[in-house]
Amino acid sequence: MKMNCSETRVRLDDYYDDELSVLEFRAVNEHLASCDECKHELQAVDALRQALRDMPVAEVDDEFENRIFGEVRKHYSGASSSRFAAGFMTAMAAGLALWFATSIFIPQLPVDDASQVVMVALNDAYEVRLKFDAPVDLEQVTLSIDLPDNIELEGYADRKELTWQTQLKQGQNILALPLKAVAIGEGELVAQLFYGDKSRSFRVILKTTGNDALIYQVRKFNSV
């Protein structure tokens, strides 16, 4: 079995992975022995693979394992599974998931002032997720949620305003709010976050329609 350059090159990855048949392997070997260009191509395969294998992985800290198992113990002992969402039901609701994202307490970063307008069908459960990016671990953070009259937080049907203290871990923090539209109307969900003398507000315009399909649009608002 003899191979030319193009036949050899399409097999170089498999040759590198040792996934050729014995006959093909020998034929590629023979060709490489006499072809500098294909040998050079093989070196390029090797360089690429090496670089791929060297792609870095961010190391976890020493508390990673304890943190994971700590959450499992908390979750399956009746306590809340999420320190950030403490006090809230975190069950995934069917339908919409809206993400808000921001970087907090970093004055030099521009604030994204986009507000979302979400239209939802009446009585559909959906989930609004607020994402907070914290530059460092933050203790003693106060969060408050104000809901429009036509929206309920599942599990807290009689509460339109909730405030609680929590902590943010460095990096991404997700607060999942399982919401349900109980009447036709339009109003603002306002989430406020307080840390020391600083605060930040997030607003979602929620519009309830009949049983229309879900649609959405984005419009600007002025941040607090």
Binding site: A51, V72, D112
Partner: protein, 190 residues
């Protein structure tokens, strides 16, 4: 859920602890973000604890756990895709670094240049291609192992992998800032 005893947690941790870092590594390759990877591992552990009795009977846990983690990741991906609003500001992703934006050429070594190029190229693969490259070429999973994880026929995986590599090389060739820099370096003989 059965009545939980303290020994259940101890047994669960004893079974899972040896696999956590390895699962985190896989999660990191799939998500490209440290916090997302940690959250993914957390989610998997929360889902698995009620299956303790089943887990005890599994002989080879690593491939089984890889598959579970992959499934949870894909489920999350599907949920996120249903979201009408894109995630904003996922700036911690290692894959989102644009080559040439972080450091000036004089400050970087050749292997760092290649790393940046590769990280950039990987982001421009489609999700299936990225995952396949991550599992096979980065983490060294064999096609047979990936077949077990993804439930995809071997032949399909192989052709997908070939296409993914071809696309990766195509993107790498297009990353012009570094291509130019490399040419300049070559002329100057630095």
């Amino acid at each position: 859920m059965w009545p939980i005893r303290r020994s259940d947690h101890q047994l669960f941790e004893q079974l899972m602890r040896p696999h956590l870092k390895y699962l985190y590594r896989l999660a990191y390759r799939l998500t490209g973000q440290q916090h997302a990877a940690e959250d993914l591992v957390q989610e998997v552990m929360l889902k698995l604890f009620p299956r303790l009795e089943e887990i005890e009977k599994i002989e080879k846990l690593s491939p089984w756990l890889s598959k579970v983690l992959y499934r949870v990741f894909i489920d999350q991906l599907r949920k996120d895709k249903r979201s009408p609003v894109d995630l904003i500001g996922d700036d911690e992703s290692i894959y989102e670094t644009q080559p040439g934006k972080e450091q000036q050429p004089a400050e970087v070594t050749e292997s760092e240049i290649l790393q940046k190029k590769i990280q950039y190229a990987v982001t421009h693969l489609n999700e299936d291609q990225r995952i396949l490259i991550m599992l096979h070429d980065v983490e060294g999973y064999s096609l047979l192992e990936i077949q077990q994880i993804q439930d995809v026929p071997l032949g399909t995986l192989k052709s997908r992998l070939n296409r993914a590599r071809a696309k990766l090389r195509e993107i790498l060739k297009e990353v012009e800032p570094y291509a130019t820099y490399e040419r300049v370096k070559g002329v100057r003989g630095i």
